[in-house]
């Protein structure tokens, strides 16, 4: 079995290496990826279409907005699935043998975390809010925000973190994020455009269509940030306690 796997992998490796010799060399400006008309279109037109300087965010939240919406839904469903897989099913046998976690939170660690968590959260909000003018966005800001709650859980215990962000609220916030995203899309649908065609939001907000897309992108990123924050923490809380939501790490 292992021998067959090794031979298979060797063959795949040789084929891939042989194919790699025909790939464009490192950083070649003439490579298909760098000179494709789609890329040139995005680079040339993002500014005039959306007024957003960060092309990555513009492509993520506007040109490919439908894709990103369902990526967010995937994250939400994954969090929900982890929670229900670990909670439900046949009787959790680890219940009879409680994990005994009896330790004092370390003074140095907790005080450092006490100082550092607000900074992390402010930075996460900055990354989220400036996602369309500088590197950043909803996913990155959301992960940083979720990490701050995980840090609380690691340095005190999960109970302390769950007191600040209960697991039920995690899923409420995550669902709220998707509702924000889909709501902005539906609003532009009702205003006469297509789903997620933010330019039509200019009909109810006193801005130009381009600026409407600019601001709608921020709203969409906030929705993504909500979902990612909540699901990151829910994943940690579920996985570290085997779904029991107490004791654990």
């Amino acid at each position: 079995m292992k021998k067959a796997a090794f031979i298979l992998i060797l063959c795949i490796g040789l084929l891939l290496a042989w194919a790699a010799k025909d790939f464009p060399s490192w950083g070649d400006p003439q490579s298909p990826a760098s000179s494709s008309p789609v890329a040139s279109h995005f680079i040339a037109n993002t500014g005039v279409d959306t007024e957003v300087p960060n092309m990555v965010t513009a492509v993520l939240a506007d040109y490919r907005g439908f894709d990103t919406m369902f990526e967010t839904v995937v994250v939400f469903i994954a969090g929900l699935a982890v929670f229900s897989i670990l909670r439900g099913g046949p009787k959790n046998r680890t219940r009879d043998r409680e994990f005994v976690v009896d330790f004092e939170p370390d003074l140095i660690v907790t005080n450092t975390v006490r100082l550092i968590v607000p900074v992390i959260q402010i930075f996460a909000l900055y990354v989220l809010a400036h996602g369309h003018v500088s590197p950043g966005g909803g996913f990155q800001g959301g992960v940083a925000m979720g990490a701050s709650f995980i840090l609380i859980a690691l340095s005190w215990d999960l109970k302390t973190a769950l007191a600040r962000f209960p697991i039920e609220r995690c899923f409420t916030v995550a669902a709220l994020g998707i509702v924000i995203y889909a709501g902005i899309g539906l609003l532009s649908l009702f205003l006469g455009g297509e789903f997620l065609d933010y330019a039509h939001l200019a009909k109810i907000f006193p801005v130009s269509p381009e600026m409407a897309r600019y601001h709608a992108m921020l709203g969409v990123e906030i929705g993504v940030g909500f979902t990612v924050t909540a699901i990151m923490f829910a994943l940690y809380a579920s996985l570290s306690t085997d779904g029991r939501m107490r004791d654990g790490l």
């Binding site: 992998i9 070649d28 680079i43 994954a78």
Partner: protein, 246 residues
């Protein structure tokens, strides 16, 4: 060996990024195919994913270009600030289509966008896979693939025999080598026949052969009491070969 045009030069000097991606991809694939432990398989899956991400990001590299965020001279709001003194019309400020000569200054934003979402979805799928592993461990007491298959087989034949009560067993250091090495399909029939007393017998042999526990074997009751009174530190006692009530 490394002169221009040779295969080594092409692969290891000009296209080192592809070489690294191939190596990472193979490591991940190897772990997914050949490793026995489900967690190791998941680690392999993550390495595989990293290889793909590296591949995408490295084809997005463009010589002499900057990140896909407009420089101040192309920034719609940068030029807006410049023209603000005589421009009052909101629609006619700043932004215009970038001239073709400026386009090569920016890298392609698409690989970054695709990988951004791929990373987040990767985290979500990894969490899901880990939770499935936890459930498997809860139900069968192992995440080793061959032991799992053996147990499933045994359970199937037990179901065929009538009783379908599942009795999961924790994997312990005492039987670690044994089940993986010798007790393969040959013993399954014997086990299904004498199914009921199996756990007790195994437990007895376990406590006899236990050597890595506390220095002296203690009676069962005092050991349990000890567990309750002694404050256990961060390390979890659940993985230790504790007494099984079943």
């Amino acid at each position: 060996m490394f002169e221009d045009g040779s295969i080594f030069n092409q692969l290891l000097v000009e296209r080192l990024n592809y070489f690294i991606y191939v190596v990472l991809l193979l490591i991940g694939l190897w772990a997914m195919i050949a490793k026995n432990n489900l967690i190791k398989k998941l680690i392999g899956m993550s390495i595989f994913q990293t290889a793909i991400i590296l591949f995408y990001v490295s084809i997005g590299v463009k010589e002499g270009a900057t990140i896909p965020i407009y420089l101040p001279e192309h920034d719609p709001h940068g030029s807006h600030a410049q023209l603000d003194s005589n421009q009052t019309d909101l629609l006619s400020h700043g932004a215009k289509v970038l001239e073709a000569s400026a386009v090569p200054n920016y890298t392609n934003p698409l690989p970054h966008v695709l990988m951004l979402t791929a990373i987040v979805v990767g985290v979500a799928t990894l969490g899901l896979a880990l939770s499935v592993c936890l459930r498997i461990y809860r139900g069968y007491g192992t995440v080793e693939e061959d032991e799992l298959l053996e147990k499933l087989e045994r359970e199937d034949s037990r179901k065929a025999g009538g009783s379908n009560k599942r009795r999961p067993r924790r994997r312990t250091p005492a039987n670690k080598g044994g089940t993986a090495g010798q007790s393969k399909r040959g013993q399954t029939t014997e086990k299904t026949k004498s199914d009921k007393p199996t756990p007790r017998r195994r437990q007895a042999s376990k406590s006899r052969t236990k050597t890595n526990g506390p220095a002296k074997e203690q009676p069962k009751s005092s050991n349990k009491e000890n567990d309750k009174t002694k404050p256990v530190k961060r390390r979890r006692p659940a993985k230790k070969p504790k007494e099984d009530e079943s």
